[in-house]
Symmetry: C2
Subunit: 254 residues, 2 copies
């Protein structure tokens, strides 16, 4: 399978600490060695680093785990291939433009019978079930809202409903963001935690790294991290239930 990592924050925040943990799972503490990727938003712009190499060995992943790129919304993924060979075009996260915004998505799971999902004008580039499901969700959005909707929150709620179709096809844990909102959907495994003042110490599970968030933050910061498995061993993460979706905006659960 794969592992997901997402961040939603009310101030530009780096993801070095969490990404350090995720990176270990891409070939060292986890079997997800078939590529990795991470998308950082800066307002409406997005920059996506991806690489079909194991994150644990990747020079670019090393840079990202050390170099603080500040963002309010991040979507990251380490891959263990099932559908679709190991290649750059099959590496998550995937992106498309809709209504003049960049949409970014990553999936953990495995679907059957996905080849018939209608995708209209969003054509998959690669051969994964994941990208096809993404194109399906965007095409449903596009059909429901031929013009830019006044409420993007309502549009995300609509996506959350449409994931019901995908859930019937198999395991579908997902992150989807447009840079402001972040939707997490769970069918088997997804956890999240919101950190806010008073901040404390956190310790990664996968590598011997501690952080004192009190030294890295200001009192008004609100930062939510979403991950397949909790990344820290000394904090209480919220475990999502099968069929549960959760929308975030600027760090807050809506």
């Amino acid at each position: 399978m794969c592992e997901l990592l997402g961040m939603s924050a009310n101030v530009p925040t780096d993801i070095c600490f969490s990404f350090k943990g995720l990176r270990e799972r891409g070939g060292r503490t986890g079997p997800h060695k078939d590529g990795w990727g991470v998308a950082f938003y800066e307002n409406k712009g997005v920059c996506t680093f991806k690489d079909p190499q194991p994150s644990y060995e990747s020079e670019i992943a090393r840079l990202i785990s050390d170099y603080p790129i500040k963002s309010k919304a991040v979507v990251a993924h380490v891959r263990q291939a099932n559908r679709g060979r190991v290649s750059l075009e099959n590496t998550h996260p995937f992106s498309r433009e809709l209504w003049g915004r960049n949409w970014t998505y990553a999936h953990n799971g495995q679907l059957s019978g996905y080849a018939d999902l209608p995708t209209e004008r969003f054509t998959p580039v690669g051969t994964t079930d994941s990208e096809r499901a993404f194109c399906y969700l965007l095409s449903e959005l596009d059909k429901r809202y031929p013009n830019r909707p006044t409420s993007r929150k309502a549009a995300f709620r609509f996506v959350a409903k449409k994931t019901g179709v995908l859930r019937k096809l198999g395991v579908f844990n997902m992150l989807l963001s447009d840079g402001e909102y972040m939707l997490a959907y769970c069918t088997t495994k997804l956890h999240w935690i919101t950190r806010r003042a008073p901040f404390g110490m956190a310790r990664l599970s996968d590598i011997d790294v501690d952080i004192d968030f009190d030294k890295e933050t200001t009192p008004n910061d609100v930062v939510t991290i979403i991950a397949t498995e909790p990344l820290t061993c000394n904090e209480q993460w919220h475990k999502m239930q099968p069929g549960e979706s959760q929308l975030f905006k600027y760090g807050e659960a809506l």
Copy 2:
């Protein structure tokens, strides 16, 4: 204005040498300090690094100039902003999916009266003349070929014709690629060079760096570099003429 850099090659080739030269122009030997970006194709997949910081000072740009990412098609850009503020969403290259392929584009120049260019289903995310022109070209392609064309070469020729509309709006030097083909269009300034056996020494103009391509290549390699201004001082570059377009595939001019 800005500077463009493109590569088309018949074998996966790194662009470290050329990018080292371009990077200097992003704030040191040139005034193009308002962001930079580079897109690397690996078959149909593409990875785009971009940053609204000056390339000369960027940690990520430093990594890219030192770390050999191998590709057959690369589109790069350093920006000096005119239309659209300095921000990630206004940073080139821009990308969109059409017919299940990733299209990547960068522009050097400045357009007037671009706000009325029709872009149909391709909506600009940022506010540059450049991205709007890109969306216009893709929407024209999409109208001309509602289904994936049998000849992408013909599709690129069609784009080259459509650039005539943009040329009337101002300065429009451009690179456009789908990972196999690379189209260069010139209204004022664009140069290219094809390197093949027997390979020789090359010396960058912007920084004291030499390379012996004979040591870096095999006898069958064909590598074309396209740049706003020649990047080397000891080679003969082909200067494009106003209104001239040139299509490349796997390093060869077609």
